[in-house]
């Protein structure tokens, strides 16, 4: 599916463009290089396998995986509705879905607090039902889903719109029902975008910090995810904070690798 559009990349580029581009690249990469240079490799393993690190890592993986599943379950229909359905205010809805992407996460945390907190919009109803969300792992998953959902929706919505509806129309004229068209035609067409959107959502959920610390609190094994553990370790043990940061950098690089792979297949 790849189309070679740029046989001589860079040939039309003025030479000076490499200077600011290089500075930009340094700005992104140098801090990471500097951080990796501070890793104390000798006691990396004990730092990474300490009880608090492993608990935080396990909690992070568990909550991020759950949040990613929620993102797929809610985000795929959202993307399809935004891309295909015609309803008044669709453009506005498209913009509003992006809000968590541009909001500072701490603002998201405050908003979640006033929705699901004990004195929040839904808090009283939830309390009557015997559900307490604040300070629970559920709160972490909610915060992660809130910030990660737009990543999946944008990747998928763009792909669905670009793919067009010709094949779907054909399938429908051949007698396929809407659900069958969706599962057998639409989703396979946008599978690469769905995959990269899912991976991005997982990565965003894994890195979630601001909304979690504002909304969910911080308790080992319950709400203290890896980013919160890093922030706390910094207080007493900077080496441990750097070691744990390295874990997240490795995860991030892996995620970029995965999305690049699926991404090149999906972009025409």
């Amino acid at each position: 599916m790849t189309i070679r559009r740029r046989p001589h990349a860079g040939s039309h580029l003025p030479a000076w463009a490499f200077v600011p581009a290089g500075i930009g690249a340094a700005l992104v990469l140098l801090p990471l290089v500097a951080m990796v240079s501070r890793v104390s490799w000798g006691n990396l393993w004990p730092l990474l396998t300490s009880e608090s690190s492993l608990t935080a890592l396990a909690l992070s993986l568990r909550t991020s995986a759950t949040a990613t599943v929620l993102c797929v379950l809610l985000g795929v229909p959202m993307a399809l509705v935004l891309a295909r359905a015609r309803f008044p205010g669709r453009d506005l809805a498209r913009s509003l879905v992006l809000l968590p992407l541009v909001l500072p996460p701490v603002v998201g945390g405050i908003a979640l607090l006033y929705t699901f907190g004990r004195r929040g919009l839904l808090g009283h109803t939830l309390e009557v039902l015997g559900v307490q969300i604040a300070f629970s792992t559920t709160a972490v998953v909610l915060a992660q889903t809130f910030v990660a959902l737009p990543f999946l929706v944008i990747s998928l919505e763009g792909a669905v719109r670009t793919a067009g509806d010709r094949y779907e129309t054909v399938a429908a004229t051949l007698g396929a029902r809407p659900t069958r068209v969706l599962l057998r035609v639409t989703l396979p067409l946008v599978a690469p975008a769905l995959a990269s959107g899912t991976v991005l959502a997982f990565a965003r959920a894994l890195g979630e910090f601001g909304a979690t610390i504002t909304f969910a609190g911080s308790l080992q094994g319950v709400t203290r995810t890896l980013p919160l553990e890093i922030y706390l370790q910094r207080e007493t043990d900077p080496d441990a904070a750097v070691a744990l940061s390295l874990v997240l950098v490795v995860v991030a690089v892996t995620v970029i690798g995965l999305t690049r792979r699926t991404g090149t297949e999906s972009t025409p």
Binding site: A9, G10, A21, I23, R119, Q233
Partner: protein, 263 residues
Amino acid sequence: MRRRVLAVAPVIALVLGLAGCGGSDQGGDDDAAASPTPEAATLTVFAAASLMGVFEEIGSQFESDHPGVSVEFSFAGSSDLVAQIQQGAPADVFASADTKNMDKLVADDLIDGDPVDFATNTLTIAVPPGNPAGITSLADLTQDGLNVVVCAPQVPCGSATTTVEEGSGITLTPVSEEQSVTDVLNKVIAGEADAGLVYVTDVKGAGDTVEGVPFDESSNAVNTYPIATVSGASQADLAKQFIAMVTGSVGQDVLAAAGFARP
């Protein structure tokens, strides 16, 4: 062709980046050397976040006593400030919320002279207005179904909490161990927590959004605030005068009004 360009770009980037770093460091030194003129001077004070209100008040008093001098503050967690000073941040004065963080700078030879203790603070129980859970003692915090929030043991208010627990033999089972005392206070103000352990001054500063419940065991952990001039301060004289104001009657009155005790 394309591959070669891509491979070269990061190298260019790194070289430029490193060159840029060297250049800006030198620029910073020149600026620092050029600025101290007696007429218009800036005193930079790094102070623990819990000192924000009182130090801003002392700072404006200092500015009106020293025409032409402006006092600039950086308020953050003491350990953050220590890390910044260790990395060369241009502080003239450092005021810490505990002796442990001040000792880190003393050990690194980054403090000029001896730190002076200028205030103390103790823990108290913060509860929502009206004290709905009817808490009257530290032991009340162990009741079932109560959402108690404390600071994590890694931060000063949390290590004070641990000391109080050890001294009293009472073990708390908090629903959250927060990063800072402000986070604990905000959880109580927001109504998420039924009670939280914070400093006396935090309750005082929060006005009528929370109530404080003093408890006897808090005397086990008295937090001492030291202040000192940072080594190589560009405004060493002004720094000493500022410290004198904090430890003198002006500073002590402001501190006492905010709920701090004398060391």
